[in-house]
Amino acid sequence: MKKYTIVLLLLIAGLTTNAQTATKEAVIKVTGEVTTPLTIGNAEFQQYKQTTVTRKDRDGKDHTYSGVLVSDILGKAGVTLGPELRGENLAKYLLVEASDGYQVLFALAELDKGFTDRTIILADKVDGQPLVPADGPFRIIVQDEKKPARCIKQVTAMKVMFAK
């Protein structure tokens, strides 16, 4: 009986470990020149105001991406946007990193509606469906940008920094 209990315990332990390594939730860390560092998972993401952006994908067709304004996330982290985006703060940029190590950057002014009407969002859905695993769960979508290179997939980190 004791033997079976040990086997059972080992099995449970094994399953738990497996679950830990296989099903951890993907999150985005927001760090750098912020007043409040953030960790955004799906639950946090859904608390932001949702919006949509339409852009052509590689298939040449328009697709509707839905998600959250990047400026809303940075605003919550206390990044110097809006009236504070002047003077030396214009030398700040956002570096976005994906799980494959790919990085792209945006000047803060590119993200601020006081400077531009172009919308840059962090999307979690395309045409109403969650992004496929190779693209998601979170992807930057840059409205109207001709090349898709900055529509970075599988985002894991957003860091605000001063240009040195």
Binding site: K24, A26, S99, D100, G101, V132, P133, A134
Partner: protein, 384 residues
């Protein structure tokens, strides 16, 4: 600026044989003069001193990675090179870093998995050490953030060099050579694991490969053959069959003059990877079987290929990308649906195109890098 150390190393001592002829007197005279001259110029080896200046082409870019607490100095590189080739850092006194990272093979060892102390096998393929000055994440799974952190793993891993840092420190402290060198580099003769790692890292950053035929082509000093040019075109282009553009899309991961971008991908080797790759520490399903995209520098010299050394030849590697990509939830997006055929699921390169691609890959061999005396074993003429 140079400083002398008392111990003899890196100096060749050749025994002269004396011919038994009537000219022995003349020979003795000559020897006397030579000895005198040698004494005058100094037999003691000199340690170069001062900041180390990295030389590399402007098109490599300046996004280099040197930690603020380990600036590169000539004396540090000198010590690091001796330590890189120092078998005393292994449990059996028989294996140094240079065993699994041989200069003639662009600092790999030709094995699928390297053999460590007690014939133990390393878990992944030995990586080429070239242009690490620009790397920011190390190991096949990118888990180390600096060369200094990376170095300590193979030194102590029971399947690699298998010796605790404490024992290594003790062994080096008991030599005539090392305490004096540590004093020159660090200001006092204390030997620590941290200082060992820092010196080796300094040496490794100097391993710059920038004179392949491809580099020469980029600076207008080499005219490629027709096959090389065609291979280069395939290498650089993504396929677009509807526009009649054929390509192998290699630069997506291996782009730029260094043929290295710091990326990590699941490249479709298995539908369920036995090796978890990055997922072992991120815990993400999409990181399973995800590994570092290695540099293609000297790729013709660094067989076998992939994290587990499963492919023996470049033909097998190209065949993999052309026809054998395995689908899985973690397969990278750029390998899905990329094809030279309309509606195709894999690249489908023609046999001739594969040969052209490999002709280009051979352009990445840098023969000056693998014969550069500054990177070779300094102990071959040393008694320490």
């Amino acid at each position: 600026m140079k400083r002398k150390v008392k111990d003899n190393h890196e100096i060749k001592h050749k025994q002269s044989s004396f011919p038994r002829t009537g000219k022995v007197y003349l020979v003795l005279c000559l020897l006397f003069v030579i000895t005198g001259l040698t004494a005058y110029t100094g037999t003691e080896p000199v340690v170069p001193m001062g900041d180390y200046v990295f030389n590399y082409p402007a098109n490599f870019g300046n996004r280099i990675n040197v930690p603020a607490d380990n600036p590169t100095t000539q004396q540090g590189v000198y010590l690091g090179r001796l330590l890189f080739y120092e078998p005393k850092l292994s449990a059996t006194n028989a294996i140094s870093c240079g065993n699994c990272h041989q200069q003639s093979k662009a600092f790999t060892d030709g094995r699928a998995l390297s053999i460590g102390v007690n014939n133990g096998l390393a878990t992944r393929n030995s990586m080429s050490l070239a242009n690490l000055l620009w790397a920011r994440k190390f190991f096949w799974d990118g888990r180390a953030a600096s060369l200094e952190d990376q170095v300590l793993f193979p030194l102590t891993n029971p399947h690699e060099m298998g010796q605790s840092i404490q024992v290594s420190v003790q062994k080096l402290s008991n030599t005539k050579l090392y305490p004096g060198l540590f004093k020159i580099v660090y200001g006092d003769s204390t030997i620590t694991g941290d200082r060992i790692a820092k010196a080796i890292a300094q040496f490794e950053r100097t391993l710059i490969s920038a004179n392949s035929r491809y580099d020469q082509y980029l600076r207008n000093a080499y005219k490629p053959t027709g096959d090389e040019l065609k291979g280069m075109e395939l290498f650089n282009r993504g396929p677009d069959p509807e526009k009649g553009i054929r390509g192998a899309n290699c630069t997506h991961c291996h782009g730029g003059p260094k043929t290295y971008l710091e990326l990590f991908h699941n490249n479709g080797l298995d539908s369920i990877s036995k090796d978890e790759g990055m997922a072992a520490f991120t815990g993400l399903v999409t990181d399973r079987g995800r590994f570092k995209v290695p540099t293609l520098r000297n790729i013709a010299l660094t067989a076998p290929y992939m994290h587990d050394g499963r492919f023996k030849t470049l033909d097998e590697v190209v065949d993999h990308y052309s026809e054998h990509i395995k689908q899985s939830v973690s397969l990278s997006a750029f390998l899905q649906g990329e094809s030279n055929e309309v509606g195709g699921h894999s690249l489908k390169l023609l046999p001739k195109e594969k040969k052209q691609l490999i002709a280009f890959l051979n352009m990445l061999t840098d023969s000056t890098f693998i014969t550069d005396k500054r990177f070779g074993n300094p102990h071959q003429s040393t008694k320490n």
